[in-house]
């Protein structure tokens, strides 16, 4: 493109710094908010006020903040479930199914201890750790299915994980709906409520146990990828399956283990949301919505470029936008789905801005 003696050119970048990556992400978010502003205008709402309402509710309101954090932890764990396989070049889009099975196993453990009997008093020191273990094992076992199929028969992991989402969805329905063993006492299509004795610790409405687990996992995963032998093998396989096979890395081991770990992490997300968030402590009727929310973990994982620490602020942002978006929809009488629209536009813009990680515009004077 030529402009008054200058040429605007597109140049391929050799590399980009972490600071640049942050800057690009911030600009992308601002641009997405600008675009969604038109939706507010169309609905007759001043965009500045709309955003103010969203962000104050999400990040500075005593009801909104715990909701934001609880959702952020959920999205963060889902994004870890995506990140571990994607670093090996494998796509896990089955977080929904894995978290359903994780939640079912956790509630299954509690069930085995008699938690469904009304008025049951159980030891949290025994049951809560076992529920967490159950969630990890349940999610991990489901993750093992695409892992084995990929590693052994090179089956398309996207298709397998996607299909398992449906299986998970209907198994949950079978377990909690009318006549299911985990049916709640109300019998209105929701799971049984955990007795107070084994509800996880909550501070100011935030489930601190799972929050702590998620933050520790972020650090552990970061160390895994940067410092350990196993992390190195995963990354090598992700960059070049042929070269890593040449170096003696077993493709089966990588596919199997990354999917088992991914599934286990998603299982934890299921336990976190259904098992620990106050006022829930049961598998709710609309559990499918949370399966959908797990997909934000994919975007989170992609934008963070597979970096588990970088996923933390992104998960917080997404968590805030889901809680704040839903809130303004009611408060400002917007039509249904403004929160989904906001997140959708944000994702598309963030993905489109990935372009700037690899290219830059240069202005050159005509010689």
């Amino acid at each position: 493109m030529k402009l008054a003696g200058y040429t605007l050119k597109l140049e391929k970048k050799a590399s980009f710094s972490g600071l640049e990556a942050i800057l690009i992400s911030v600009v992308a978010i601002a641009f997405a908010l600008f675009l969604v502003g038109f939706i507010f205008l169309q609905a007759g709402v001043n965009p500045a006020e709309g955003y103010k309402a969203i962000f104050t509710y999400a990040f500075a309101n005593s009801f909104g903040v715990p909701l934001t954090i609880n959702r952020a932890v959920f999205i963060l764990l889902s994004s870890f479930a995506f990140i571990v396989p994607i670093r090996a070049g494998l796509w896990n889009i089955g977080m929904a199914g894995q978290l359903y099975f994780g939640a079912l196993s956790a509630f299954g453990v509690a069930y085995a201890f008699g938690a469904r009997v009304s008025g049951a008093v159980l030891s949290p020191w025994v049951v809560i750790p076992l529920m967490i273990l159950g969630a990890i094992v349940g999610g991990g076992l489901i993750g093992a299915i695409p892992g084995v199929l990929k590693g052994r028969f090179n089956t398309n992991e996207i298709v397998v994980t996607m299909m398992l989402n449906f299986i998970g969805y209907w198994v949950v329905a079978h377990m909690i709906k009318e006549g299911g063993p985990f049916m709640g006492s109300g019998g209105e299509g929701e799971g049984y409520k955990l007795p107070v004795s084994i509800q996880a610790p909550v501070v100011s409405g935030v489930s601190i146990l799972t929050l702590a687990i998620a933050l520790i996992l972020a650090v552990l995963l970061y160390v895994l990828f940067t410092r350990t032998r196993f992390g190195y093998q995963i990354r090598a396989f992700g960059h070049s399956p042929a070269a890593s096979r040449y170096a003696g890395i077993s493709p089966f081991k990588i596919a199997f283990l990354t999917f088992v770990i991914g599934g286990a992490l998603a299982g934890l997300a299921g336990y976190h949301y259904f098992g620990t968030v106050p006022n829930l402590n049961q598998i709710p009727k609309n559990y499918g919505d949370f399966g959908d929310m797990a997909f934000y973990g994919i975007i989170c994982g992609l934008i963070s470029q597979g970096n588990p620490l970088a996923a933390i602020p992104l998960a917080l942002l997404f968590g805030g936008l889901t809680s704040g978006g839903r809130y303004v929809q009611g408060k400002l009488h917007l039509s249904y789905g403004i929160d989904y629209a906001l997140l959708g536009v944000l994702m598309i813009v963030l993905v489109a801005f990935q372009f700037f990680f690899r290219y830059r515009f240069v202005l050159k004077k005509e010689s």
């Binding site: 391929k12 090598a236 960059h239 070049s240 070269a243 890593s244 040449y246 003696g248």
Partner: protein
Amino acid sequence: MTEIKQGDIVLQARGITKRYPGLVANDHIDFEIRAGEIHAILGENGAGKTTLMSILFGLTHPDEGEIYVFGKKVNFRSPLDAIDLGIGMVHQARKLISAHTVLENILLGHPHAGAILDMKKTAEEVKQLCDAYGYKIDLNAKVWHLSEGEKQMVEILKALYRGAKILIMDEPTSALAPPETEKLLETIQLMTKNELAIVPFITHKLPIVLSVSQRVTVLRRGKIVARLNTAEATEQSLAMEMIGREVLFNLKRPDVKIGKPILQVENVSIYDDKDYWAARNISFEVREGEIFGIAGVSGNGQQPLAEALAGLRKASAGRVLFQNEDITRLSSLKRWKKGIGYIPSEQRAVGSIGDFSLVENLLMSYYYDDLFVKWGLIDTKKIRQLAQELIKEYNVATPNPDVRARNLSGGNLQKMILARVFSRKPRLIIANLPTQGLDVGAMEFVQNKLLEEKKAGAGILLISEDLDEIMALSDRIAPMYEGEFMDILPGGSAQRETVGALMAGHKQKAVEV
């Protein structure tokens, strides 16, 4: 278009400059090509040949400079513009559709190929072309049936039929067996005489340049450093211009005592990816301090054999012994640990990870070593230090060990791969096309390193397409053709012609010689 006479300037480049981040690939290149000449463009890898060629064919835009074709200034938007002006290109990697016939491939992309294909007319026209150049090819044969030489012939025919008057050929002999190369050179010479087909000829194989071209342009680091009439040049002088210093073409072969057998291969047969026989009934042994050379054109089973020995492919029959232990079923990792080092032919796709730093690439051979990884944690300091030492020892041109492997030139990358494999002190080295695509300087370095390992007592299995390399380095030579060893000859006394004929599958001819 006016009538062109022998000797007219048909293509001219003026001040062609192309910059990539951190690199000037072409720096003010001026040259011209005349009708009826074979003009060789010579240069090391990374000298800028490929960039120049892409610019002349319209695949890349130059940042500066002008191109004139038949005296007219042109601005190529895409290769289609170049083709329409009569420029044809034969790529190093074949661009044919292997499931289609020769004729269909020739017609593909031709303006004649409209909604209705007139196969009959095309067939006749192509036959005339074939007769003119003495080509013999079945136009209805499927391309996957053809040999490499025949496929190349199809590419040339395709370009000529499309009306090419200027033919650019990229490394035209790289995939051909010696007899096929001779045939190609004959044809090219015929083309320049018979008609006004003009052939700039791009290669780094010096004897070929000397035998067929009239003029040579030598590129070094993006600049033209010499323009010569071939008659005035010698192999030595061209090599000096190319790399800027004198090259020794005679390798010093150390006198090494050949020791105990280190690798014994007994009646091994291997299937390829398509379930065809890739190698059949192969038996041989490699001894300590010996270089066992497998000579052959790529695609005759060398690669599957090398992979089977490295543990990357299953042998369907036979046994492999390493230091008297049966390793036929061992994984590649266990073989690495036992002291088998494999240098794969594909440096970038298999031998290294482009997005990894040199340190991380070095880890490919160290991640399983408990001296470098304790409790699962990588000793970053230690591996980095080793990388720095190896970079120095192997003379790898890089500012630091954190550079990504993809930013290294072919020669430097191969040095790094050698450094990685050899630093594990392997007892057996499988070197698959170790000097393929390398410039003269790097080639010499790699060959000397192989000889050093031989001196240190390692057994080396050398797989090469370069007959000169095989002849110069090997203690024993096995010419391989269609998955079989044609013979096993002693390296010192074998005749070059005999090996050449055997690797092309001519057993009878070998007997006559």
